[in-house]
Amino acid sequence: MAFQLKVNGDTRAVDVDGDTPLLWALRDELDLTDTKFGCGIAMCGACTVYVDGFPTRSCVTMVDSVGDSEITTIDGLEGKAAEAVQKAWNDLQVPQCGYCQSGQIMAAASLLAETPKPSDADIDAAMDGNVCRCATYHRIRAAIHRAADMMEG
């Protein structure tokens, strides 16, 4: 059946069963492939998008539950925190395989938008749901601090 999804500022139609996870609607129906599939059970964060501004696991968010909510993928990510995070990620060469990083960046930008000067404990709490099998965590932590400094400066 057809659903109207508000994605990155546009309203887009998808014709899928209502129990289809938003992740697959975005990827397979709307070609928004920058949001990745990692586990399908909300345990890794690779599929993180914002639903009405909140970081959400799109792999367990069914299309029929989204309604009029505004969905933001990394393609539509913007603002001071997002820019700072992407720059810091590049400056500190965070990604290795890179597969989880769009989810990491979505989570980090959300953290900084809420908490401009996070402590290590704040970072660990906010980012613990985002798995990186390459274990780039050491640089993720450093890059969030770097981004926070940039936003201040």
Partner: protein, 735 residues
């Protein structure tokens, strides 16, 4: 098992260089393309026949872009940028004019020089085997560009210099690479171009040289197999036997076929494949299949039983793989004998990108898109399945979302299953070409086997009254990864699989009487190399035993290692550097402790000092790891640090809580809730120090992993006296 013969491959190298029309590789960044670098931002359209290929590794485009063809898969370890660095340095290209793409599958041109006739990536060999080859490729292209420029200017080559991608005549006139590339490629190829001396390197060893793939990876660029979409593509999900070695007896697909989007269900040797117009219906319908399995040939033991059998075997003599002196006599005469048994679980690699592959088959040729780690084996298995020539299997190697060994498979079952489906559909569809993507779920991955095998070690070590190590008896029990695979001839000798004993055999420690024995077991659970392979268990045993011996002898763990490594200068180099940088011997606050480990793997030397802290309940956290590495010439220092950080995280993460267990032959774990990966809150800070070295470069993808877990275990012992001999550490409360 497919027999691997290296038949003559299609593409031959023209000794005078060649001009080729660039199709895929020059088409800019798009879904399914692997090109990364400048094009990722500019997405310049291909300019067709004017792209100039100088040799198998270097292309110069009219806009001066230098495209380096990586013969190795990049699954996060930074190899593609590393190979590009080697070419760009010798070519004197500017880093911002460099792009990298993956070479086609062609073992005649792109074989791993450490492996003979196979194209593939593994064993931390990418930079070591390519170091001279890629430098020479860059130097050759440079010499030809210089000669072409000299001819254009009517002068001689010695009047032309190259710097940052600009050819300059002694008069000051300049040309860009693209200006003379076509002429240059028509010139004779110099046999022995002059290579730089290390003091002339501009990019090799340069700090803060950004990797070419990092920027696209910060925007979620569609560079992975997951992101490939072909016209009319069907997505396949495969139900495989829940017990390894089981087969389909019968099945009912009625419910699965009722799922909206499912178009077909086919039986293949690997199981039952559901084909759908998109991913979700395929994954959903797969779970609705009703399958009767035939387990008559399956492995039906649980891990408890396998472990009991291994422990029993550990009490009996095995096949000797090393015998120095008389360890039994030495142990009989020792003042003290320390006897310890260690157990290691099956481990899944669980790369972040669930396994995936895209295939198209037209009856004569097949084209594959995947993170291919053993292209030659992938070609042969596909060709054998489809009944076509290996050279008619075209592989588009794509960036992989991790691997840790999982995509380097001796039986190429990932592409093999895709070929089985392609064959079945080809027959059903009357020969119509049908693009198919096989998508694994995380459950398929965790339950899918090809694990780091289980091992048991039993060690007896003796010291004399003065605390000197006098004898060592070491028995290893576990399955062979390589027996029965195409790699058996190279790595299994007289029944000893080198990967079962590496890291124990030939230990650098000066042990006067040493016996090493191996029991090679038969288990129906497929095993596979897993980041650092045998060293994942052998280093743990050697390094924690060393600390047990130090404690028994009343010696400092670093001091004992120095004593036993006095003739191993590179081990000593990293040990001393790590100890110094970590402040070994200086006081720590209450509730904190340090542990050390040093281990050579894949010809690189790594020492680590771990600092752990304990909470009131006795749980510990790893706060900091100081790492020293000697990997010869440091090609990309920042990437070496990144690989040490990642390798340490991988080693500690699995040691903390990961194990795959089986009950009656079925895997108990299924996803990240019960095979829970290391998370950011588990991750220590890591400081990596690279020893300056002029030795030939050695690998860095794996060597960071082996010392991490034993360094942590030694820190725990130092604080609590508790010995962690059963992995993972989460079992410690169970005794």
């Amino acid at each position: 098992m497919t027999v691997l013969k290296n038949k003559a491959d299609t593409l031959s190298v023209n000794r005078r260089g060649f001009l080729i029309a660039m199709g895929g590789a020059g088409a800019g960044l798009m879904i399914g393309s692997s090109l990364i670098g400048k094009a990722a931002e500019a997405a310049t359209p291909a300019t067709g026949a004017a792209d100039v290929q100088f040799n198998p590794f270097v292309i110069v485009k009219p806009d001066n872009t230098v495209v380096v063809l990586s013969k190795h898969l990049d699954k996060g370890q930074g190899t593609a940028s590393g190979l590009a660095t080697l070419v760009a340095d010798e070519l004197d290209a500017a880093w911002d004019q460099v792009e990298v793409t993956f070479a086609p599958a062609n073992a005649a041109l792109y074989n791993n020089l450490q492996w003979g006739p196979y194209q593939g990536t593994g064993g931390s060999s990418a930079i070591p085997n390519s170091f001279m080859q890629y430098r020479k490729a860059g130097a050759t292209a440079k010499a030809m560009l210089v000669e072409a420029a000299a001819r254009r200017w009517g002068t001689t080559a010695d009047r032309v210099t190259v710097r940052e991608g600009v050819l300059t005549h002694s008069s000051g006139e300049t040309l860009a690479f693209g200006d003379v590339a076509a002429e240059a490629a028509g010139l004779p190829v110099p046999e022995d171009p002059v290579l730089k001396t290390p003091d002339q390197f501009t990019l090799i060893g340069k700090e803060d040289l950004p990797r070419l793939d990092v920027k696209p990876k910060t925007v979620g660029a569609p560079i992975f197999t997951l992101d490939v979409k072909r016209d009319g593509m069907l997505v396949a999900a495969i139900a495989r036997s829940p017990k390894f070695g089981g087969a389909v007896a019968s099945f009912d697909a009625t419910e699965a076929k009722a799922v909206n989007g499912v178009v077909d269900v086919v039986q293949i040797p690997a199981g039952i494949a559901v084909l759908a117009t998109s991913t979700w219906p395929a994954l959903k319908a797969k779970d609705l299949l009703d399958i009767e399995w035939d387990f008559s040939a399956a492995e039906t033991r649980g891990t408890d039983r396998i472990l009991a059998e291994y422990r029993s075997l550990a009490g009996t003599p095995g096949q000797v793989f090393q015998q120095d002196g008389d360890s039994e006599a030495a142990l009989a005469g020792a003042a003290q004998v320390i006897e310890s048994e260690f157990t290691f679980p099956f481990l899944a690699h669980a790369p972040m990108e669930p396994l995936d592959v895209v295939i198209e088959f037209d009856g004569k040729t097949a084209e594959i898109w995947t993170g291919s780690q053993l292209q030659t084996v992938d070609q042969y298995v596909t060709s054998a399945t489809l009944g076509i020539e290996p050279t008619d299997v075209k592989i588009n190697t794509l960036w992989a979302g991790g691997s840790f060994g999982r995509r380097a498979i001796y039986d190429s079952h990932i592409v093999g299953e895709a070929a089985q489906i392609a064959k079945a559909l080809h027959l059903k569809n009357g020969g119509k070409k049908q693009p198919i993507k096989v998508q694994w779920s995380r459950e398929d991955d965790i339950k899918g086997g090809y694990y780091r095998p289980m091992y048991v070690h039993r060690v007896r070590a003796g010291i004399d009254a003065e605390g000197r190590l006098v004898g060592w008896h070491h028995r290893i029990v576990g399955q062979s990864i390589l027996t029965g695979t195409p790699f058996e001839a190279a790595l299994v000798h007289n029944g000893i699989d080198h990967t079962s004993v590496e890291g124990v055999m030939g230990s650098p420690y000066a042990i006067p009487n040493f016996t090493g024995e191996l029991h090679t077991t038969k288990v129906g659970v497929p095993g596979l190399w897993w980041r650092a392979v045998g060293h994942t268990h052998t280093a743990y045993v050697m390094e924690t035993m060393l600390d047990e011996i130090a404690a028994a002898a009343g010696k400092d763990p670093v001091a004992l290692r120095r004593e036993l490594l006095k003739d191993s200068p590179r081990h000593l180099g990293v040990l001393n550097l790590a100890a110094e940088k970590a402040g070994w011997g200086t006081p720590l606050p209450a509730g904190k402790a340090r542990g050390v480990a040093v281990h050579k793997s894949f010809e690189s030397y790594v020492a680590q000092v771990a600092e752990v802290s304990f909470d009131a309940e006795g749980d510990f956290k790893v706060d900091r790891v100081v790492c020293a590495v000697d990997c010869g010439v440091a090609v990309n220092p920042d990437n070496i640090r990144a690989q040490m950080e990642g390798g340490i995280g991988y080693g500690i993460g699995h040691a903390l809580r990961n194990e795959i267990t089986l009950t009656d032959g079925e895997v108990d774990q299924s996803n990240f809730h019960d095979y829970e990966p290391m998370r950011i809150s588990d991750m220590p800070t890591v400081e990596t120090h690279i020893l300056a070295s002029a030795a030939a470069p050695t690998g860095v993808g794996e060597p960071g992993t082996p010392p991490a877990a034993p360094a942590v275990a030694n820190a725990v012992f130092s604080a609590t006296g508790e010995r962690l001999r059963t992995l993972p550490f989460s079992k410690r409360s169970l005794g």
